[in-house]
Symmetry: C2
Subunit: 244 residues, 2 copies
């Protein structure tokens, strides 16, 4: 008896026919895993959304985690929107960012940005006024989307191809914390947003290398993405398909 | 004219007409962002893949980041496979995990698991032999997939709907580090895997609350996902659409 046979036995806990099928497939593919049967995504309303999540830190994975969160949620049929306050790493949007095409391929996932491509001028400060205007625009746009979510029934399914102005279940505010760190927007405005959001709207904020202390009371889940080792330190540039 | 019209153009630094248009449109849509035009995903080969990335830590975001990485890569047309060594959070696979359906909706992204659903027996240790057998099977399967990648031309596009046995550009080994932490597999086997992978295969390992010190020399990018504040600490269970 191989180790796979053992794996086939406790594969499930409820003894249904589907479970037996799955167990058989597993037993018959020694050394191989199993692939669950995918279902088409049907519109659904989340039962347990409504928290505020924040990711910050010097490591890689903040925007990446936001993408993964969005992916998981749209896989359940929820409506997700990603709004990027600012964005570095490449000089232009066209066809360089894998996330755009992947978002477009996922039903219920939409995207927009107000920010620059590239963190132009951040080293010498020359473009801060323009960055601030764009970050303020993102904040205004966020308020609009939060209000729209408040007017929608977030317990119910929403049209997967609908406008974000019709409400979303999960709103991802990428680099919002970085914009606050940079004083491009007022952290108090983010706190106000978080504390006055609709109860059932799940809100995710990412960005920045400094702890968003101002959010620690009102956020439910805060994660630091800490750099242990990063090839950027050895001169590696951002790579297509990995960092954008 | 809606902000969506602005999406057709793009912000660039090269002074093209499209850049001016986009800037104008942005200026004319205060408080609103733009949406870049999505392209259909066409098969492509990555130019810069070949690193080893690792995520570990007590915070939320390790599997989530792996999903986001996969999403970004398939958006560029690369072939991605996610192999889960083990998985907790729910008692069965059927229809509960948003990531499965979302992966299935993304061209070029495939998935399999060898693990349990639920970390059964981990508190009292009763199921460790079975967990070890499954984790060993995942390791054997990983070697098979790494060998397949070595036999493929990873500079070239791969069929998006092809079997992972035909090679992939990016292999995500979810919870592999947790399996090593738990002594279900030998960390030396992971080191051997990482050090002998094909040069152009990008390898990502996640999992565990302890630093994978054995990997620090051979991995290129290591990130700790550190819990600052988590609702689990206050009794919140894993939520559909957020944690699975």
């Amino acid at each position: 008896m191989s180790e796979r046979d053992g794996a086939a036995e406790g594969a499930n806990r409820d003894g249904s026919a589907e479970d037996d099928d799955r167990a058989d497939r597993l037993a018959n593919t020694p050394g191989k895993g199993i692939t669950p049967e995918a279902a088409d995504v049907e519109p659904a309303g989340p039962e347990e959304f409504g928290l505020v999540q924040a990711w910050w830190g010097g490591g890689k994975g903040k925007t990446t985690a936001a993408l993964g969160l969005g992916m998981r949620a749209v896989g359940h049929g929820y409506r997700v929107h990603l709004l990027q306050f600012m964005k570095g790493g490449t000089a232009s949007v066209e066809a360089v960012r894998g996330e755009y095409n992947a978002i477009a391929a996922l039903p219920g996932f939409s995207y927009e940005t107000t920010g620059h491509f590239g963190w132009h001028g951040f080293l010498d400060g020359s473009d801060d006024d323009e960055h601030a205007a764009r970050a303020e625009a993102a904040l205004a746009r966020t308020r609009e989307l939060v209000d729209a979510a408040g007017a929608a029934d977030l317990d119910a399914p929403l049209p997967l191809e609908g406008d974000p102005e019709d409400g979303v279940h999960l709103l991802l505010l990428d680099e919002a914390l970085y914009a606050a760190n940079r004083d491009l927007i007022d952290p108090d405005d983010l706190v106000d947003l978080v504390e006055n959001k609709p109860d059932r709207l799940e809100l995710v904020l990412t960005g920045g290398h400094e702890s968003p202390d101002y959010l620690l009371d009102s956020a439910d889940l805060v994660t630091e993405v800490r750099k242990v080792k990063h090839p950027f330190d050895e001169g590696q540039r951002a790579r297509k398909g990995a960092e954008y």
